[in-house]
């Protein structure tokens, strides 16, 4: 899910042209297939967003399709609501259902959304069959073909032309969501959920938004469907249709919204072919015989080309990335860095940790640890392996809930809250085990750090223009931060290609993008060369001068003692010393802990 997408304009234009010309050149029966492809393609685009961004799959996309179709049929035939108004309401209804289902389910990882949406499809079928208001088994009929300005769209070609611009705009919107702030954040979540959350990404909220949007696409497909065939019945929520949507999306390529439309055409042609061909081979075959093809193709695509058609196209057009030059070394300069108006005065207590405790089964990893951190100071947390340093970090940043004790940030209790809450209080962290967003570029990684400092939501991102200026400013800011850690030359490289030490520096730049008042660094020096270490020390001093509070866990004790204002020493989960470096250096308990002998 990388940001820059040059060469997309010709693709857009080609698609527009293709859609415009298709009804002119294709025979009527094929155009008819095309109408279904466009209709179902809408639902598939929604599914692609859900799978690509939220990493979840719905096995009941047809349920939302049916809700949209039933809503439209009811409003148009029974209440004589104008078509466009009714369409808005029907799509809204599908989204509302998704909100209600997604609210409890998207908090959970794993298979639950898939199985629950599968159940939703069954429920909608049952509800439609049982309700006489919805026409029971025969459904609702008598929905007219749309007419605008005295023109009735009643031939396949006419309807295709009516639908094509709708699909085109729907594609643009989907593409913008993927490329924009929401897509970038969710792409990051798929790489490392904990890191994205620590940068302020509220995973649950964004996933819910995508799920609701994806249901909206299915609802819109239902509206388009019911106006074309004029009737909707309980079969609209049927499981085979959900499988068909899923196949379109998977065939097109996970996460490629273009692919969904291409996949829709391919699957519709396959569908037609099988419905025609299978009875020739097996004369008494009836019902949903096309499913055999769907099942086989679905399995085969996942096994052999998991990226779908999109992957094939991408592989053919891949160019090698140019090698990067030597890293630029930032100029000698010790001026204060990244000050912020509104930041607490140096010396003001920012972080208050009280009696922090964490048990894992019978083991107490952290036992009653208390300390404060003030703005404009560097506190080092040291101790032997397994002393509980990282566990402390995890509890402070919300990655782990404490068993007992409290964490206050700016006076507010945040223990047990999620990491994005920590980030919203202007605090963030880096990780001992690197949590780089591997599928993004170096700059893209830092851009995720700007998540809370940019605002474009789903709607503005979808409409592009309002969000564009923000995107440009965001990239400039990201480049400034990359310059600080000497990664300018590598801004456009895939982050996963960076050597280990540079990935650490990238994590720091990414964290700084949050504009934190409090920065937690977990072993920032590990894997850095001597020169890089000196640069990092200087960077941290400048950040301190700018008023930032820094807490670091580090194994290089000498480096820490030279840098930190205060040092906290943990041993076996307990805080055994807290004071100035010189005091700690001579503390008998510390010497014992490190040397393992009684001093």
């Amino acid at each position: 899910m990388t940001g820059a997408r040059r060469g997309e304009l010709p693709a857009f234009a080609a698609l527009a042209l293709l859609l415009a010309v298709f009804p002119l050149v294709a025979p009527d029966s094929v155009v008819n297939v095309g109408v279904y492809a466009l209709t179902y393609g809408l639902a598939a685009i929604g599914l692609t967003l859900l799978m690509g961004l939220a990493g979840q799959v719905s096995l009941g996309q047809a349920a939302f399709f049916a809700v949209g179709g039933y809503g439209q049929a009811l409003l148009v035939t029974r209440y004589e609501v104008p078509m466009v108004v009714a369409a808005g309401a029907s799509v809204g209804l599908a989204m509302l259902v998704a909100l209600l289902v997604g609210l409890p389910l998207l908090r959970l990882r794993g298979h639950y959304l898939a199985l629950a949406t599968l159940g939703l499809g069954i429920i909608v079928t049952v509800a439609a069959t049982e309700s006489s208001y919805l026409g029971a088994t025969s459904g609702l009929y008598g929905v007219g073909k749309p007419a605008f300005g005295g023109r009735r769209y009643d031939s396949p070609a006419e309807y295709f032309w009516l639908l094509a611009p709708v699909v085109f705009v729907a594609l643009l919107v989907a593409r913008n969501v993927v490329a924009g702030r929401v897509g970038r954040a969710l792409g990051a979540v798929n790489d490392s959920e904990v890191a994205a959350e620590c940068l302020g990404v509220n995973t649950f909220r964004l996933r819910l938004q995508v799920f609701v949007l994806s249901a909206g696409y299915a609802g819109l497909a239902g509206v388009a469907y019911v106006h074309w065939i004029g009737v909707v019945n309980p079969n609209a929520a049927n499981f085979p249709l959900s499988v068909e949507f899923l196949l379109m999306s998977v065939l097109g390529g996970l996460g490629s919204v273009w692919g969904a439309v291409v996949g829709a055409f391919a699957v519709e042609l396959l569908d037609e072919g099988l419905r025609y061909g299978i009875p020739l081979v097996i004369p008494d075959a009836v019902g949903e015989v096309q499913l055999i093809g769907f099942g086989v193709v679905l399995t085969a695509v996942i096994l052999f080309i998991p990226g779908g058609l999109h992957q094939i196209v991408k592989r053919m057009s891949r160019r090698p990335t140019p090698p990067t030059e030597d890293p630029t070394v930032p100029a000698e300069d010790d001026s204060p860095l990244l000050p912020r108006t509104g930041r607490p005065e140096p010396g003001t207590v920012l972080l208050e940790v009280r009696d922090l405790t964490r048990h894992f089964g019978g083991v107490t990893a952290v036992d009653g640890v208390s300390f404060d951190v003030a703005a404009g100071e560097i506190l080092a947390l040291i101790g032997p392996n397994g002393a509980g340093k990282t566990t402390c970090f995890n509890m402070i940043s919300g990655v782990l809930a404490p068993s007992a004790g409290s964490v206050r940030l700016g006076g507010e209790r945040i223990d047990g809250r999620k990491p994005h809450v920590f980030a919203r209080h202007r605090a963030t962290r880096t990780f001992q085990n690197l949590q780089i967003f591997r599928s993004a570029t170096v700059r893209g990684n830092v851009a995720v750090g700007r998540h809370l400092r940019s605002r474009a939501g789903m709607l503005r991102g979808a409409l592009v223009l309002p969000a564009r200026g923000e995107e440009r400013r965001l990239h400039e800011r990201a480049d400034d931060l990359l310059a600080l850690v000497g990664l300018t030359a590598e801004a456009d490289r895939p982050a996963a290609d960076l050597p280990f030490g540079r990935q650490r520096l990238l994590e720091i730049a990414r964290a700084l993008a949050v504009e934190p008042d409090l920065l937690l660094l977990d072993e920032p020096m590990a894997g850095l060369s001597g020169g890089e270490r000196r640069e990092l020390v200087r960077l941290l001093r400048r950040l301190r001068a700018g008023g930032m509070a820094v807490v670091l866990v580090e194994h290089d004790v000498e480096a820490v003692l030279a840098l930190a204002d205060r040092v906290a020493v943990l041993d076996d989960g307990r805080l055994i010393a807290l004071g100035k470096p010189d005091e700690v250096r001579t503390d008998p308990a510390v010497v014992t802990a490190y040397l393992g002998v009684d001093a």
Partner: protein, 289 residues
């Protein structure tokens, strides 16, 4: 009172079928964290094969062996062809893959047996009436065989070396590999067990609940809900979950509206996931199988 007992009996009988299906989910999930969406199709396939075998004049024991054998082979082939080749199995991939297999099996059954649902001839014995409750002989078969299978599955996982190896894979995959347990073989074995359980469920259920090309869909979902009730990794939880779900369905259908029967599983699933995602019926101490 007799009404209630009648509903409880019907619920326990259908619940036993859910329990067997749930056990199939648990067997595969604990070893490879895959929710096998084809689990319901295993049952449907066994039912249809059995019906054809009876039509071909085979005696009941041979029918059962043939149906169970067919499904076990299908399950093993499924594991070799679609699960084993995937190097990095994600949740998303596993869902789509097993859905693909499930769809293929459904369609194959549709092409072979047609769209009509039908029932296997009952296993035999006399229906009776006890205290105003009419008991079908087939219900007793279902409850009896399920009880035997449940005990056997419990014994397998707790007492035999192969069962212990499967549990080890579930709890500590790396450690299991280090002591020489092959994860690939464990996964294959888990699918064989799932196929066996699904087939037994399908053959038992067919005389009362019928078998059709698409009957695995609802059965699979309900089996999953039952397994989820039990925490998805517990044998006892899955059995209890199946029985609870079956009885709930039966009571709702009897006292509220029979059309709502199929809605119960969905509501239960949502309720469980909201209240206790770890499973309601799972005991803390009995974590794992």
């Amino acid at each position: 009172m007799a009404d209630l007992l009648q509903l409880l009996l019907a619920g326990a009988s259908v619940g036993a079928v859910y329990a067997l299906t749930a056990l199939g989910f648990v067997a595969v999930y604990t070893v490879s964290q895959v929710v096998n969406l084809a689990q319901g199709e295993f049952a449907a396939l066994a039912g249809l094969v059995a019906i054809s075998a009876v039509g071909g004049g085979l005696p009941l024991p041979a029918v059962v062996v043939l149906a169970v054998g067919t499904v076990v082979i299908v399950a093993a082939v499924m594991q070799r062809l679609t699960i084993a080749p995937v190097k990095r199995m994600t949740t998303l991939l596993s869902i789509i893959l097993t859905l693909g297999v499930s769809t293929t099996l459904k369609a194959a059954m549709l092409l072979i047996w047609g769209a009509e649902g039908r029932g296997l001839t009952p296993f035999g014995g006399h229906d009776l009436t006890v205290a105003g409750v009419s008991v079908q002989a087939q219900q007793l078969w279902i409850l009896g065989v399920t009880a035997v299978v449940a005990v056997a599955v419990g014994w397998f996982y707790e007492r035999t070396l192969a069962g212990k190896a499967l549990r080890a894979c579930a709890e500590q995959p790396t450690a299991a590999r280090l002591v020489g347990i092959s994860i690939a073989r464990a996964s294959l074995l888990s699918f064989v067990i799932a196929g066996l359980l699904g087939a037994v469920a399908g053959v038992l259920a067919s005389p009362i609940y019928f078998s059709a090309w698409d009957s695995g869909l609802a059965l699979g979902l309900k089996g999953f809900v039952a397994a989820t009730l039990g925490g998805l990794t517990s044998v006892r939880g899955a059995i209890a979950g199946g029985l609870v779900l079956g009885v709930l369905e039966s009571l709702v259908a009897g006292y509220v509206d029979s059309g709502l029967r199929d809605a119960v599983a969905f509501v239960v699933l949502i309720a469980v996931l909201v209240i206790r995602p770890g499973g309601v019926l799972r005991q803390r101490a009995a974590a794992g199988i």
